[in-house]
Symmetry: C2
Amino acid sequence: MDKKSQQPKNPADKKIRRRRKEARPGEIIEAGLQEFAERGFASARIEDVAARAGIAKGTVYRYFENKEALFEAAVRSRVIPIFDQLTIMIDTYPGTAEELLRILFKTIYQKLITPDVRILMRLIIAEGARFPQITEFYYQEAISKGQKILRKIVERGIENGEFRQGPVSAEPMVLVAPGIMAAIWKMTFDAHYPLDLNRFLEAHIDLVFNGLKQS
Amino acid sequence: MDKKSQQPKNPADKKIRRRRKEARPGEIIEAGLQEFAERGFASARIEDVAARAGIAKGTVYRYFENKEALFEAAVRSRVIPIFDQLTIMIDTYPGTAEELLRILFKTIYQKLITPDVRILMRLIIAEGARFPQITEFYYQEAISKGQKILRKIVERGIENGEFRQGPVSAEPMVLVAPGIMAAIWKMTFDAHYPLDLNRFLEAHIDLVFNGLKQS
DNA sequence: TGTATTAATGACCCAGAAGTCATTAATAGT
DNA sequence: ACTATTAATGACTTCTGGGTCATTAATACA
């Protein structure tokens, strides 16, 4: 496909091999992630990964035991530090719980619904059943942290009288569900029936803070 | 695996072949759906499908051109008539829009989050990119109908003063998002971190009708 | 500049699975 | 009962793609 036309040094730049021990793993992981996302684990071909990384097939195996090892490394490499940043912010944020929740929602729509993260979600949903360690890892590194953040914000809101105690505060994941749904939509039907993320975020916030009912 | 021990007629019931032209397609589809759900399209083996259906591999090909054709047939066979039933009910239902929405939510949690439907969702998410016709079909037959129902209920609620007009009513999918999220959770993290569907449904309803805020 | 080290290569091997088809045998019709 | 029809079979062919390893050549170091 794209023929490594990055630095066309000489006209016949066919096979000037380069030794780049340090840079390879990252490049292979990046290429692998793309291929796995496009084709799924089973259909992704190591030869294509290699081509994408600009190396020969055998080179992949100098850095990763086998296809599974590459898959695991690829998924792990992408679990994002978003939540860690947020955790710190929450404890120091001076404003109201409502403001914090709004920030969290916006962050979800900006950071979590990017193509990069959607790739991960798709892989977890599609291949998770066959890679339980990865599912577990992803839960520990991302989901559980997100849950903690949510709980903290909701508790804070209850303590200072902003939020109600009740079924919602007992199951705070309902609050972010629209964000998850938006991500799913983007990776399935969006090509045919595009979703306006801004409008959806607005609806999401409106639902959470104002409810559906006439007041 | 399970060695067809259904009707152990005689001790050596090895290969008494039966001719059942009419029953085969359905049985093969059912078997295919199971295999595709467990392994994904690429990893599912036709021989396993055949074994599961209690026939030889070649027989599968007497009824389906190839693996893809079987996959399409399998997914199509399962698009559920839930929404059609609901559509009729809505126009004749005498109660309030709130009652209708509650019924819709309960139906989602009872019908849509069953293993059978989750299988479909997983396949659409996992394989949809490579089978655009299937995604399109699924959208037309299920999603768009669900959207219509939602819109109808919300409009009715607005007309009779139950619901507010605003961002939520403009993007009513936010209202069912927790249901979708629950389905996703069930197919990914539920084994490790089980979700209590009843409690979640309660939270969902509480969010939609009461919002999060202290009133 | 010569040599040792080792990163990189890609032809090759081979397991596994899709799809074929000549053969077998269940059933319908007479 | 006999026979024609065709559903069902599974050994076989073919191809794809994971993984190997002897060979090549880039780089470090003397």
